[in-house]
Amino acid sequence: MITSTHYLVLGGLLALIGTLGVLTRRNVVVILMSIELILNAANLNLVAFARELNQIQGQVFAVFVIAIAVAEASVGLGILIALFRNKETVDAGEIDLLKW
């Protein structure tokens, strides 16, 4: 029997992997993917809780999160392309014009 706890643990692992990815990877596209992982962890939690609590709200929230994730990705890739046109890199380490 797969309980909510299983989903929660899986969600927690996904969020952890995503966070570690954001903090350690240098390729902007990979960072974006890591962020998507965290969002998906949230979705998983929402749907799992919705099923357990027999509540529709969680699923609705998940749909919103998915839509927002798409919007985020499109804006992010747009910004990345604009940057790529001026400086041909996707390496976060080379984005170094702004520094204190």
């Binding site: 962020i35 949230a42 809780f49 357990e52 709200q57 969680g58 929230f61 927002i68 910004i79 001026n86």
Partner: protein, 480 residues
């Protein structure tokens, strides 16, 4: 709900009007778009006013409790309105100089304000999240609006990555809170927290992650890294909007979150906020000392301002909360004013090389005495010296700390005023006692800049000299 509708519909229409500009970028079309955006703000103002009248001290909820229109929300909405009004007024000329006259720009500002509306009114996790993302997505694009310029690209990317990361964390935190409460309403979450076991790992995890995300949004230390980069690289009017609009909206959310669902856990989060506030004041003030870029300096100073505002929440009594409201109000006008002067420095002759650093403002008092004098007023207000508005904000924060016995915090907070004067007056020093830079040219102001400057200056001075009506206005903002 009406203000949001007005903002969203005007925002979308303006967004679609880009084709009117076409290749020719006819001046008439640009003026139409500016006029339409201002009309949108006027309609919003009218609807806000109508709501204010209808409210009469009560609290209205709509969409079965998903949003709540109360004095608190309206107070912040007036601030957002001022922020976008001033931003739009100064943007026209700025975009002209940069050669990036697109209608999207104004559309995005209106949509960002629409997002802020939901941040201030939202009492449901879904509403809050959607509002937050609407605001944030608009800002990512606005920060990177100067497509041809690498600093703007970089700023947008950095802001985007950290912003999306914090949003994702917030979504994750929200999902856990939903699981604990079985509802997305803040009220139900509050009840669940009060009734529930505080050692429930899911609840603790949810609260911790959400708090981190909130601190990211208000750019409090140690989650402040995005702010200096985003502020520096963004077009200056966007910096102004970001530094006051986004900050005020995030504070509205933070306040509602900490006071309503988390009110019962005060003892748990108070030490945490003390640490964050002190760290923000320290890091913000100390890092600002060495900055040479004006926008970056203001960014670091705005981090320290976040620390001051948090102190009001630390005190948590009526004075403290009213203090935050007054502080946000005052900070809005003053920071807008200061960045407005920085934006006005950018002129056609200077070209893209101008980096808004201390050299550009050097000798300003000789070239544009009026602008220099106004900048001094804004900087004094930012530092919190009487008789400017900034003092009234700091006064409330200090008083609330004294009232609640946080004497040591009060001493730290006051001494940082002297530190702040030190770096703010580095700017003054260059304006009044520096030699004029070679490339510096005269400010050629437009009508929009002058009107915006009039609004911000009048507010900064009037609130400083006769704060009474504004204090009464801020009183309505208390969450009762």
């Amino acid at each position: 709900m009406l203000p949001a509708l007005a903002l969203a519909s005007f925002g979308c229409v303006v967004l679609l009007l880009e084709f009117l500009l076409g290749k020719a970028r006819a001046a008439a079309a640009r003026q139409w778009i500016l006029g339409l955006s201002l009309t949108g703000l006027a309609v919003t103002a009218w609807t806000l006013w109508a709501q204010q009248q209808a409210l009469d001290g009560r609290r209205l909820t709509a969409f079965s409790g998903a949003i709540s229109v109360d004095g608190f929300a309206l107070f912040f909405n007036w601030i957002f309105l001022v922020a976008s009004l001033v931003t739009i007024l100064i943007s026209y000329r700025y975009l002209e100089i940069e050669g990036e006259e697109h209608a999207e720009y104004y559309g995005l500002i209106l949509l960002a304000q629409c997002g802020m509306y939901f941040l201030a009114t939202g009492t449901d996790l879904v509403t809050i999240f959607v509002g937050l993302e609407l605001m944030a997505l608009s800002f990512y694009i606005l920060v990177g609006f100067l497509r041809g310029e690498r600093r703007s690209n970089e700023a947008a990317l950095k802001y985007f990555l950290l912003g999306v990361f914090s949003s994702a964390l917030m979504a994750y935190g929200f999902s856990l809170l939903f699981g604990v409460a079985g509802s997305t309403r803040l009220k139900d979450i509050g009840t669940a927290i009060q009734a529930g076991d505080l050692h429930d790992p899911i609840l603790l995890m949810g609260l911790a992650v959400t708090t981190v995300a909130l601190l990211f949004k208000i750019s409090a230390v140690p989650f402040h890294m995005w702010a200096p980069d985003a502020y520096e690289g963004a077009p200056t009017p966007v910096t102004a909007f970001l530094s006051v609009g986004s900050k005020a909206a995030s504070f509205a959310l933070l306040l509602r979150f900490f006071l309503e669902p988390l009110g019962a856990l005060r003892d748990a989060w108070q030490p945490l906020l003390v640490a964050v506030a002190v760290l923000s004041m320290t890091a913000g003030n100390l890092a600002a000392i060495t900055q040479t870029n004006l926008k970056r300096l203001i960014a670091y100073s705005s981090i320290s301002h976040a620390g001051y505002m948090l102190l009001g929440l630390v005190a948590g009594n009526e004075t403290g909360l009213q203090g935050i409201a007054v502080y946000v109000l005052v900070y809005t006008f003053t920071n807008l004013g200061a960045l407005l002067v920085v934006a006005a420095l950018r002129s056609k002759g200077a070209g893209r090389g101008t980096e808004e650093d201390l050299n550009d403002i050097s000798g300003l008092a000789q070239r544009n005495p009026a602008y220099a004098a106004l900048m001094v007023v804004f900087l004094l207000s930012l530092a919190g010296l009487p008789p400017t508005a900034g003092f009234i904000g700091k006064y409330y924060i200090f008083l609330s700390l004294i009232q609640t016995g946080h004497t040591v915090l009060a001493v730290i907070a006051t001494l940082y005023v002297a530190v702040a004067i030190f770096y703010y007056f580095r700017i003054v020093k260059r304006m009044y006692m520096g030699e004029a830079a070679e490339r510096a040219s005269l400010i050629s102001s437009s009508l929009g800049v002058r009107v915006a400057l009039g609004i911000t200056t009048a507010a900064t001075i009037v609130i400083g000299l006769y704060p009474e009506p504004f204090l009464r206005f801020a009183e309505i903002s208390l969450l009762r």
